[in-house]
């Protein structure tokens, strides 16, 4: 009898995925043979049975396919250090609270399994799984159990968990947005109730016995709305006035106050003639809050770029102390300590190599994707990744003095000193406020000669009717629609405000490696000696390089794959690599040598003069050459280069046609950068720059009065991306660059830059149209108000209409890319 409803009888017992032919993972559980698709599933299932929690399989809902367990997290021991835990836990002492992010949770049965299993561990007081957010809230006694042990228990039953800080992840801006949403809800609630009261008043109650009662009800609803939901406008207006700026909040605050004060005056004095405008107050607050909320959703979260950078800094280091390895927190590492860096680990400090040989991926600092050889005497930098050999390093600087820390400081500096974006609407508002106030004063003075009552009413209605509802919605609504459309076409607008700026950009700055080029080496050209087939050379070369870890190897193998060469069926014997020179092996009985010219000479091979001349020519074009010898005869030269992206040429041509200035910025050698610029038809080249120089180049361009857009992808581009008026990052780029950028291009489409520019132009046009529409509305309504012809009913109808027209116009942006394929 099969009491456990495995998702599918022929599939894996644990995850239900079909089992590939020839795979044989069997386990005997409670007397029945079970099949598994992989070792992971098998061991997880065994662990579940061992813990006596096998009814997990009964609880899994029918039809839910589990997935094979995810990779368990690496180096979890570091989470046992108090210094590391400090960032995540909420209370100190032995009893600790932590949130873990879990991978591999699919259904309610997982919740049951995790909670049951964790509660069995000693010291665990609370384990609460949030299924929707895939998080665990854990409270445990750290004197009785280690955090790394609990994470390992989770890994054994098939879940990968890492600590995280919900406060940090949620962010300050999101919290502000939530409080804005509450205010919006409240304004909506008050507005809907007030509509009924207004309808009663308009339909005749304003003359009968209930007139005062309804007035007081309006007062009761509008007062808390004004104080609670309208608070952000008053705060903004006062904040603006303090720095002598007339912001959009000011006319809103004036309009709200005057409308409210006038209505309250009518209510309190039980005036028999005047009308109350309480519904207009709440309506205004509600509509403008919608605009503000939309705006808040597209605000740039600037803080996270530095957070991402900090994450690159390893938290612990392996220090050699009297011949013993010792893992200590990074703060405890001192100058002159000897630190061991194992292959695959990040370099924790800046230092000088004492022993060992390895290649180090320094792309985060230099932007170059080709790993750099390091042997004794070379400098290594914090945050870079050690690829394939162990290194013993003497610490030369730690924490605040490392190169990585300097980049973090640059990013912070760029963030704090960047000028705020001047929005079109902001430039109009001061004039708008002045004209409105003058109109109101004029109205009051003219009518006052006739009657004080009418003068007060007319002047107030001027202020009420001009309240810039449409003007306030003009920008946020357009940006919201444009951002939504952009996201659909692979343009992620992180900071909506730059959509206005992008159309005014006069200068583009490009990073080279990874942005204009693909960022990886590939075989660009191959020259062979006479009577030798290129295919044979490539096949033998790929057969050897299959065993190499070097960057060159990947390029040669990719080229062989592209030509569908059958290099795997060769017999390779005696593979041997000499660092910095080349590799050697015996392929099908023939000696194959690959490497530098010196490598061949050392092995007693005379170089082919013709090939060598060709190689020099290629090297002059900034390609690196690999010499190849078959059977001790020099037969070929392979030229490796970083290829241009397919769409780079097109983009550069279009920008040039639009007479937009361009600069190529690269940390690479000058010759290489020049060669790329040449291929693209020439542009200004600034090569061999450090991250701080990139930032400075942008600053210099901006001082020349140019509006600069920066396109980049690396950590070293982060300060420049923030400094530029518009920072554009590629989706494949590092997390840091994505966080620093205002716009992210998904799928790495450089041609999306063109779409983004189109989108930006259209957005600016729509904003202008919207501002125009709100002026047309005012041009009609203000004269009416000055003639004292506006009553609450007219205000209640025309004001929402003006907002609706603006929203409708903004929605038309969606038609922009109808002819572009998504």
């Amino acid at each position: 009898m099969n009491q456990y409803s495995s998702p599918c009888s022929s599939g894996c017992f644990h995850c239900g995925l079909p089992i590939a032919a020839g795979v044989n993972y069997l386990a005997s559980l409670e007397g029945a043979e079970r099949n598994f698709c992989c070792l992971g599933c098998q061991s997880v299932c065994a662990a579940i049975f061992e813990a006596g929690l096998q009814s997990y399989y009964q609880r899994t809902p029918e039809g839910v396919l589990l997935a094979p367990p995810p990779e368990p997290p690496k180096d979890i021991e570091i989470y046992d250090f108090d210094e590391v835990q400090q960032e995540f836990i909420t209370c100190s002492g032995d009893l600790r609270d932590i949130h873990l992010l879990v991978e591999g949770v699919h259904c309610a049965a997982c919740v049951w399994l995790i909670e049951r299993r964790l509660q069995r561990e000693p010291g665990v007081q609370l384990a609460n799984v949030n299924l929707a957010a895939k998080r665990i809230h854990l409270r445990w006694d750290s004197s009785r159990n280690k955090l790394s042990n609990l994470i390992r228990v989770l890994a054994r039953i098939g879940y990968s968990a890492v600590p995280y800080d919900p406060e940090n992840a949620e962010g300050v801006i999101q919290k502000a947005n939530r409080s804005m949403l509450f205010r919006l809800f409240f304004a909506g609630f008050a507005m809907m109730n007030l509509i009924w009261i207004s309808i009663a008043l308009y339909s005749g109650a304003n003359k009968g016995e209930f007139r005062e009662f309804f007035h007081w009800m309006g007062f009761a609803l509008a007062t808390p709305t004004l104080l609670y939901a309208g608070y952000p406008f008053y705060r903004g207006a006062v904040g603006g006035l303090r720095v002598w700026q007339l912001t959009m909040d000011l006319p809103i605050a004036i309009g709200l106050s005057v409308t409210y004060a006038y209505s309250t005056y009518i209510t309190v004095t039980a005036n028999k003639v005047g009308e109350v405008y309480f519904d207009t107050v709440t309506n205004l607050i509600f509509v403008i809050l919608i605009g503000r909320y939309l705006e808040g959703m597209f605000r740039h979260q600037a803080l996270s770029a530095t957070n991402r950078l900090m994450e690159l800094q390893p938290r612990v280091a392996t220090v050699i102390n009297e011949g013993k390895e010792q893992i200590i927190p990074i703060r405890g590492v001192k100058l002159g300590d000897h630190v061991l860096i194992k292959p695959g680990y990040k370099v924790p400090v800046d230092g000088i190599v004492l022993e060992g040989h390895s290649t180090v991926d320094e792309s985060m600092l230099s932007g170059e994707s080709v790993p750099v050889n390091k042997s004794s005497g070379a400098k290594v930098f914090s945050g870079t990744v050690n690829a394939n050999g162990a290194l013993l390093v003497e610490v030369s600087s730690t924490l605040q003095n490392t190169t990585l820390a300097k980049i973090i400081r640059l990013v912070e500096e760029a963030q704090s000193s960047k000028a705020p974006i001047q929005r079109l609407a902001d430039t109009i508002v001061p004039w708008f406020v002045l004209v409105t106030l003058m109109c109101a004063t004029l109205t009051f003075l003219i009518w006052n000669t006739e009657s004080f009552e009418i003068a007060l009413m007319a002047a107030t209605s001027v202020l009420i009717i001009t309240c810039p509802c449409a003007l306030g919605m003009a920008t946020p609504m357009s940006i919201a629609v444009a951002s939504g459309l952009g996201a659909k076409h692979g343009i992620l607008v992180k900071n909506g405000l730059v959509l206005e700026t992008l159309s005014k950009v006069t200068h583009f700055v490009f990073d080279k490696t990874g942005t204009l080029t693909e960022g990886k080496m590939s075989v660009a050209k191959m020259h062979t000696a006479q009577n030798i087939a290129g295919k044979d050379v490539l096949c033998s070369a790929a057969a050897v390089e299959r065993y190499s870890e070097h960057g060159t190897a990947k390029a040669i193998i990719a080229e062989a794959e592209a030509h569908h060469l059958n290099y795997r069926d060769t017999i390779v014997l005696g593979f041997h690599a000499t660092a910095g020179l080349g590799v050697q092996a015996n392929v099908n009985g023939e000696t194959v040598l690959l490497g530098s010219a010196e490598w061949l000479i050392r092995n007693g091979i005379t170089l082919n003069a013709g090939l060598q001349a060709q190689a020099h020519e290629l090297e002059a074009q900034a390609m690196s050459c690999v010499y190849c010898a078959l059977g001790n005869v020099h037969v070929a030269v392979l030229a490796l280069a970083d290829k241009l992206r397919d769409d780079a040429q097109q983009l550069v041509n279009e920008l040039r046609a639009a007479s937009i200035g361009m600069t190529l910025l690269s940390g690479d050698r000058k010759a290489v950068a020049e060669a790329i610029a040449q291929q693209l038809g020439g542009m200004e080249v600034i090569a061999e720059v450090l991250p701080q120089d990139k930032d400075r180049v942008i600053q210099r361009l901006q001082q020349d009065g140019k509006v600069v857009a920066m396109v980049g992808d690396g950590v070293n581009d982060a300060p420049a991306l923030i400094r530029a008026d518009v920072g554009i990052a590629l989706g494949s780029g590092t997390d840091v660059s994505v966080e620093s950028a205002d716009i992210v291009l998904m799928h790495n489409g450089l041609d999306k830059v063109r779409l983004a520019t189109l989108l930006s132009r259209r957005t600016l046009l729509t904003i202008k149209q919207n501002i125009g529409l709100s002026f047309v509305y005012n041009a009609i309504m203000v004269p009416l108000a000055m003639m004292a012809k506006v009553n609450p009913l007219v205000a209640a109808i025309t004001m929402p209409i003006s907002s609706l027209v603006v929203i409708g116009n903004a929605a038309r942006i969606r038609n922009l890319f109808k002819n572009e394929k998504s």
Binding site: R59, A108, L131, A132, F186, N193, F210, M217, A220
Partner: protein, 51 residues
């Protein structure tokens, strides 16, 4: 018609109470995990208590 003197303030007050309850619920995190708690109630953990 005098009933509206109590009815309208009464309903508005009730509306406010519901609004306050909703804000409280959101802040308490009751809307954070809609699926987990829904299925947790169906898990019977009383097998060992059954005769």
């Amino acid at each position: 018609m005098n009933v509206i003197y109590t009815l309208i303030p009464g309903m508005t007050f009730l509306g406010l109470v519901f609004f306050a309850i909703m804000i409280w619920a959101v802040k308490k995190g009751q809307y954070e995990d809609m699926e987990g708690n829904a299925s947790r109630i169906l898990q019977d953990d009383d097998e060992d208590m059954m005769p």
